[in-house]
């Protein structure tokens, strides 16, 4: 598999940005300065980035409550995201959505989502738009193993097939829906579910960017070429709790430490590209430095940004009323 240098560099930058953004949020959240609920994507970076590497701004994605990574992978800027998470007027949703509702429709980012299983039906609609408007775009639903059991998700698999939609259903299977393991909560398996709806099933290792990139590429091509929907089952793990503040007592001692030590998608990526001579360590180091600065700048700017004002409360309930 040949991947152009610029795609590799861009993907690494995205993954590194997600990691830096989330690790920083973990620290900042503990200070009590960040309002509301925050769900971190650390450990899952290769999934969002490996999928979105095949997309343009015309393509649509729908995300989940764990949405920061998908936003960054789809090109949403960290300044606007950080300001949003801090509830500032300069936030990408003007401080009215927060972490769970970051969206940028101009980039084809249909929103993080506070409702489990909220995204897949929306993605059927986005795919219908793309199909009807003949813009050549695809629509991608990211959802977790937890959401894979929701009626809304299963109905969407059916509808996407019935309507032969250019949709891809990406199951990010981190093994837990909140504090409950998917070994308990998910009956059968994702492969058979895809087969049950007559759509092709692809499977990949979410700790490995290359595995995700190649697999998602096949599924997206399938959908983009008018062959109907596909499912991509990404096996991965989250490094933090369901939300910040979750003590994760349901996970075995050392589980996360082992993931960090042996299954870090960024370490895997670096090793792979430097050993193969695709990218130089120095180039990756430069990215690391630049990303660190960018996230630092985003936090500083967010903290200094103006708060919403009273007028904002009543604004944008409707287009016209």
């Amino acid at each position: 598999m040949q991947i152009a240098r610029d795609i590799l560099l861009r993907s690494y930058r995205s993954m590194r940005t997600i990691r830096e953004f989330e690790e920083r949020l973990h620290v900042e959240f503990a200070t009590g300065e960040i309002p509301g609920f925050v769900h971190l994507y650390c450990g899952e970076e290769a999934s969002g980035v490996g999928v979105c590497a095949h997309l343009t701004d015309t393509d649509t994605i729908a995300s989940t409550h764990r949405g920061h990574g998908h936003c960054i992978a789809k090109g949403v800027g960290v300044d606007g995201m950080m300001a949003e998470i801090y509830g500032r007027q300069t936030g990408v949703c003007r401080g009215k959505g927060g972490s769970m509702h970051i969206a940028d429709l101009s980039l084809g980012m249909l929103g993080a989502n506070g409702i489990v299983g909220g995204g897949p039906p929306l993605i059927c609609g986005a795919a219908l738009s793309h199909k009807t408007l003949k813009d050549g775009a695809v629509a991608i639903a990211f959802y977790g193993d937890g959401a894979s059991n929701e009626g809304s998700t299963l109905e969407s698999l059916n509808l996407a097939t019935v309507w032969n939609l250019p949709a891809v259903f990406v199951v990010e299977d981190n093994g837990y829906g909140e504090a409950t393991g998917s070994s308990y909560a998910c009956a059968g398996n994702q492969k058979d579910r895809a087969a049950g709806f007559g759509m092709p099933y692809f499977e990949c290792d979410g700790n490995d960017f290359f595995s995700v990139y190649q697999t998602a590429g096949e599924a997206i091509s399938h959908a983009r070429n008018g062959n109907g929907p596909a499912m991509v089952h990404v096996h991965l793990a989250r490094w933090y709790g369901h939300f910040e503040g979750d003590a994760m007592t349901y996970r075995a001692e050392g589980e996360v430490a082992e993931l960090r030590a042996d299954h870090d998608c960024l370490v895997n990526f670096r090793r792979r590209v430097t050993e193969a001579g695709l990218l130089e360590a120095a180039a990756l180091d430069d990215v690391d430095m630049a990303v660190k600065d960018a996230v630092e700048a985003a936090v500083v700017a967010a903290k200094a940004a103006p708060l919403p004002v009273e007028d904002d409360l009543l604004k944008d309930v409707y287009v016209s009323y």
């Binding site: 609920f37 009626g151 909140e178 504090a179 393991g181 349901y250 996970r251």
Partner: protein, 342 residues
């Protein structure tokens, strides 16, 4: 009697009813937590905010059932189980998630009794958190009790304190109709003295938390606390208020509301839900229709604006009714003078 939080009162009500009646079962997403986890720890969460902690340990996995994240199936299962012999308490976590399972509540559970000619009983309790104040944003902060109140066949409870929560939840579990029991998530750490033994508080009987001559304030759930604070502040300025906590929005104690308005002639209604077609409009319509002659001033409603719940703290604080807004509304009706009749 001992000091208990809102959270502990609810937990105790569940525990005591589960001890009393083996048909009472609990289900919901992570009501225990940890099933299928790698640590083997059970009861890892005891509910997302710890309200059901410890119940798994006492009652086991057959009576405390963790569900997949599939609201339509388990809320529907709870309705079906209720109609066939169990007395389920199903937890919907955030009431906003009713969007995922409304059919099972609205078209199924609520309708069985009437639709089947009185031959069904559906002793179902659905517990859920509601309310703004946690920066939980638009999909985790709504106060949807008017939605349920609108549906015939459902009973709707909005407890205002730890004492109220325990007595009303036990009543809900013993009730043979589907009951929606809504807990304001900001109140879980509120404490007061609560009896240790089980007790019930009947539905449809309002509680007067303050009694006064000048203005009647009707408030729901968490808003009762703000109404009491407002009444205490206004008393110092010589304006005495009656505060009515209706406890249940369905059935609604219309008699007490009308009696109090007959005495004071002035009414302020405090409702945390969206202002259109909410409990405040419902009570205002009741009083306009039944107590028009008693009114000495226009009815005032203290509600949020007609917007989704905003995320940012500054906006959320503007959104939720508070003591200051109630004080201002009471002052405006207290000082109102009718124009002389021509």
């Amino acid at each position: 009697m001992s000091r208990k939080s809102f959270r502990q009162s609810i937990n105790e009500a569940l525990r005591q009813e589960m001890r009393r009646d083996p048909r009472v079962i609990l289900m919901g997403e992570d009501v225990a937590g940890g099933r299928g986890g790698t640590s083997g720890v059970k009861d890892a969460w005891g509910g997302v905010l710890g309200v059901t902690k410890g119940l798994l340990t006492e009652f086991g996995e057959d009576r405390v059932l963790d569900t997949p994240i599939t609201e339509a199936s388990y809320i529907g299962a709870a309705a079906g189980a209720a109609a066939t012999g169990l007395r389920p308490v199903a937890e919907l976590m955030f009431v906003d998630f009713v969007g995922c399972c409304l059919d099972q509540i609205m078209n199924q559970a609520a309708k069985f009794r009437y639709m089947f000619g009185g031959k069904a009983r559906t002793p179902l309790v659905i517990r859920a958190m509601y309310g703004a104040g946690f920066n939980a944003a638009a999909q985790h902060s709504q106060a949807l009790y008017p939605l349920f109140t609108h549906i015939p066949g459902l009973k709707v409870v909005v407890p205002s304190s730890p004492y109220e929560a325990k007595g009303l939840l036990i009543e809900a579990i013993r009730d043979d109709d589907p009951v929606i029991f809504l807990e304001n998530k900001v109140m879980y750490d509120d404490e007061e003295d609560v009896p240790d033994d089980p007790y019930t508080i009947p539905f449809g009987e309002a509680n007067l938390t303050r009694e006064g001559d000048d203005v009647t304030i009707v408030a729901f759930g968490r808003m009762v606390k703000f109404a009491n604070e407002a009444a205490d502040r206004l008393a110092k300025d010589g304006i005495s208020c009656t505060v009515i906590d209706p406890r249940t929005t369905s059935p609604l104690d219309t008699g007490t509301i009308l009696d109090c308005v007959a005495d004071t002639g002035r009414l302020v209604i405090v409702d945390e839900s969206s202002p259109r077609c909410n409990l405040a409009t419902d009570v205002a319509a009741l009083v306009a229709e039944e107590a028009f002659d008693a009114l000495k001033a226009p009815i005032r409603r203290v509600c949020p604006p007609h917007t989704p719940v905003p995320f940012a703290t500054v906006l959320e604080n503007l959104y939720v009714p508070n003591t200051e807004k109630i004080v201002a509304a009471v002052r405006s009706v207290a000082s109102y003078r009718m124009k002389e009749e021509a």
